[in-house]
Amino acid sequence: MNSNIWILTSANAVTIATTLILAALGALFTERAGVLNLGVEGILLTSAISSFLAADSSGSIWVGLLVGSAVGAVLAGIHAVLTVVLRANQIVSGLALVIFGTGLANFLGKPAEGKTVTTIIQPLTFGPLTRIPVLGPILFEHDIITYGTIAFAIGSAWYLFRTRPGLELRATGDDPATVDAQGLSVARIRIRYTLLGGALIGLGGSWLMLAQSAAWHQAATTNGIGWIALALVVFAGWHPVRLIFGAVLFGFCLRLPFTLQAEQITFIPSAFMQMLPYAATLVALIALSRPGSKNLRGAPKSLGNPFVRDER
């Protein structure tokens, strides 16, 4: 058995996990405020192509990442206006965003087909650390966004559970009436975190584009990662640190089919390997359900419910 391939798979798992963590963190912040944004897949796609076009025309990766994040925030802004201000159904609005985003991304991507970005984000160098057998390539050959993302996820846990604004955010998702009674604006908090969430998802999409694929391919760029990110939030029980481990696990599942193919392990049809991450998520979701309650473990208690003061 070729150990290099397994090391490469693990390293790739960390790479994919970066997008997953960013997208899932975006969803997590949004959901912690009580807003369910199912539009992740649409936002990822649109920000991916926007960042590509921006990086291509400006020649700078960083401009690309910035534009991608901004586009993510704008799309999430549509969702925020519809659901928080106009009190539309969050589920339908999110799905509309997926369809709109997919169409928009493919429309914008038309001229980009077949192009590639020339500059890529270079991995950081850790000198001798990279040469540690096995662990070196897995842990120490990534770029600054990957490390930044993991640090940000850990920082998010601290923010959520140890600071005053974090407490207000969690309260808005659990019991908006109390937040309202404290004199805080539920709508404002929800809009703020929906926008932040959109920017994070957008950054994830941009990074996926610029650091990983580097060429726009309309069908295969995201490949359902947005939906996996949403499942990942549930899997992690709405906790940012558990998100990191979940994302690496999911990333490994996503890479495994390619590795098994390379290893010529063929007694399992490749279609069934493609199903693996989705099936694993499905099993995890069912296993984490609590009988008798609509809320999953750790779910914000008023997730998906619009807050209407005069109805109290």
Binding site: G42, V92, I99, T102, F107, W227, L282, D310
Partner: protein, 365 residues
């Protein structure tokens, strides 16, 4: 710094009838307007794009029959989505249930077609397709009813699994569903007894009328039967339903299974109709996702779904032909679908609430 006025939402006790038709109409126009601005900003011709879409989607006789033909599967997906949505069950996996309907329909056609006459085969293919769709939603329905697991993510994940299944059946050498004599991987066409003939020189099949009749039948079920009433009570107030002795678990199972079956039926209409075989191209078409939009735009009203289904079908048919007639990317069609739904959602607020601006002093605490 606060605004000198605030916006007040007043719940309407009764929605004026004209608004129910007016709001969707305005949303469509607003989406077209937004699309026009977007087209101008990206340097494409608005007039050329829209007039071509209108011509190829609705006005030419070829376009209109193509639109009605495509609307068959879209309406079917729409009523499937709406059947679950009306009880606040968000089955967004109609796409995958549709694939299973195709697999089931193709299997029935290939296995039984050579032995049975058309009169028996057509209903068999449709029913087995529907049954396969119901099977595909069984696990999400069961865990939703028993454990409360959110059906949104589970139904969607199963769509990806269903797509892999379709690919497996087509790309595996010597697969039962694969055309045997060609090296290029493609589906094996079902025997003639399992296929309907198109109406005249069109791409419309008699299934269109079956699906429209089914939509009207469901409209009647929901408005006029005890089963429909049960669904409404659970949707409006689960607690009231509980005290009224309605078994919500069982109704949840029933509603979700029917929803899956309708989506499966949609897939099977493609077997007796346009495709005639299991075709991996289905995974690129997104009919199931379009069904969600169609249902939402019609606000889960089964009669209105016929209209919104035909409208969306026309947008697709007209949009897809843009590739031939203009330089505008065909994806403008999908974009417009999403935009229409977004505007319709925003417009919903005007239907449910009276929205007024009030000077700040008037509401000072």
């Amino acid at each position: 710094m606060r605004a000198p006025f605030r916006i007040v939402f007043e719940q309407r006790s009764e929605t004026p009838k004209y608004l129910s038709a007016f709001v969707p109409l305005v949303s469509v126009l607003a989406a077209l307007l937004a699309g026009a601005i977007f087209l101008m900003a990206t340097g494409y011709s608005v007039g050329e794009t829209y007039s071509n879409m209108l011509q190829d989607g609705f006005l030419s006789s070829r376009g209109l029959t193509d639109t009605l033909g495509l609307s068959t599967v879209l309406i079917c997906m729409g009523i499937g989505a709406a059947f679950a949505f009306q009880m606040n069950l968000y089955n967004i996996g109609g796409e995958g249930q549709g694939y299973l309907g195709m697999i089931g329909g193709a299997w029935a056609g290939l296995a039984l077609g050579p032995h049975l006459p058309s009169v028996i085969m057509i209903p068999t293919v449709l029913l087995i397709g529907a049954a396969f769709g119901a099977v595909w939603i069984f696990v999400p329905a069961f865990v939703r009813a028993r454990l409360g697991t959110s059906e949104i993510v589970t139904t969607l994940l199963l769509t990806y699994i269903a797509a892999s299944l379709v690919n497996h059946f087509i790309y595996t050498p010597n697969s039962y569903f694969r055309a045997p004599d060609v090296t290029f991987p493609m589906g094996r066409t079902v025997p003639d007894s399992a296929k309907l003939t198109a109406l005249g020189d069109t791409r419309m099949y008699p299934t269109f009328f079956i699906v429209v009749a089914l939509a009207l039948f469901l409209f009647w079920i929901v408005k006029r039967t005890e089963f429909g009433y049960r669904i409404q009570v659970i949707a409006d107030s689960p607690r009231a339903a509980h005290y009224a002795g309605i078994n919500a678990r069982r109704t949840t199972m029933q509603v979700m299974l029917i929803s899956g079956a309708l989506a499966g039926l949609g897939g099977a209409t493609l077997i007796v109709g346009e495709f005639g075989k299991l075709d991996p191209g289905i995974t690129m078409l997104g009919y199931g996702y379009a069904g969600i939009v169609i249902a939402a735009l019609a606000r889960n009203n089964f009669a209105a779904i016929i209209v919104s289904g035909i409208l969306f079908s026309g947008l697709r048919v007209g949009g897809d032909k843009l590739q031939i007639t203009t330089s505008t990317p065909i994806h403008i069609g999908v974009m417009l679908q999403g935009a229409i739904l977004l505007f319709a959602l925003g417009g919903e607020a005007f239907r449910r609430y009276k929205i007024r601006t009030v000077r700040m002093q008037a509401v000072a605490q």
